[in-house]
Symmetry: C2
Subunit: 144 residues, 2 copies
DNA sequence: TTAAAATTAATTGTGTACAATCTATCTGAT
DNA sequence: ATCAGATAGATTGTACACAATTAATTTTAA
């Protein structure tokens, strides 16, 4: 029988990426539950806190999500009162997302999350910085 | 207005992990389409190629997936003729997954995928090795 | 000017993920 | 021997993720 060493899970890059990504989202869950946000809703709100107002298109570019994913997320966030959705006057095709006062206030309640998450990760800072740098490098060289 | 630097997407570890993971899966898609496999089905088959026979429980431990995810994946792989599902004689609770001849042959057709994927990633080998090492370290220190 | 092409969201369909619950089976302590 | 607890999968419900298609609007080029 052939022994395809390169087909072993432990030798792939994809698999630890996939596992680590899911694990981080899992670790966020109890923290995000208190804000009534899912992980996808959380990163959407992070983009909104940073930019205050964005079109759905711009949001998709920032988050690497298409309208099939974003449309229901934005409708949910609107239902929760954190954002408003309205068509652009300039271009009726474009959907403008803006923060509500409640959405803005949520940022205060979210402010402790990055630090709380940091405490969950038992790796030294140097490794985390390297990991962060290499992931960004991977994104920059591999996407699109 | 407060400026929560640590809440910016670019300063998170979670976000590049999430984006890179999705991006890698997206890059696999055209290669896996030829095998009639999704990414989740592919890593399941990789575990099977490595072990020949596993219980659903063991598969879940290897892949970090629970029965809610695995049950439909395994039923699909059975329908495609790549694995067999049968209850253990020793313990009726346990579901034994084994490779069919077709499932085994699929490994030959999958053998070129790791190399093809490698060519899609435009990062030097040293960085990729470091990334691989740090992701495994992250998995080992952060999960469970 | 106007018809074709491009752009933006929304919709549809498939396939995960995972928490929570359920069901069947097995194990162990009395 | 038996029943309480543990264990293994299956099921249910919610929420993505994304490809493909659709619908509405805008842009562009003949």
């Amino acid at each position: 029988m052939a022994n395809y060493e390169q087909l072993r899970l432990r030798n792939q890059l994809c698999f630890p990426l996939y596992v680590c990504s899911k694990e981080v989202v899992r670790k966020y869950k109890p923290l995000l539950d208190e804000l009534d946000l899912t992980y996808t809703q959380y990163i959407t709100m992070m983009a909104m806190w940073e930019h205050q107002q964005l079109s759905a298109k711009e949001l998709g570019n920032i988050l690497y999500l298409d309208s099939g994913t974003l449309t229901p997320v934005l409708k949910t966030l609107e239902k929760k009162g954190f954002v408003e959705r309205q068509r652009s006057k300039d271009d009726e095709r474009s959907l403008i997302i803006s923060l509500t006062p409640e959405g803005n206030e949520l940022q205060d309640r979210a402010a402790y999350i990055p630090e709380a998450m940091g405490k969950c990760i038992d790796m030294d800072l140097e490794d985390l910085k390297t990991l962060h740098r290499l992931l960004h490098k991977f994104m920059d060289t591999s996407i699109k």
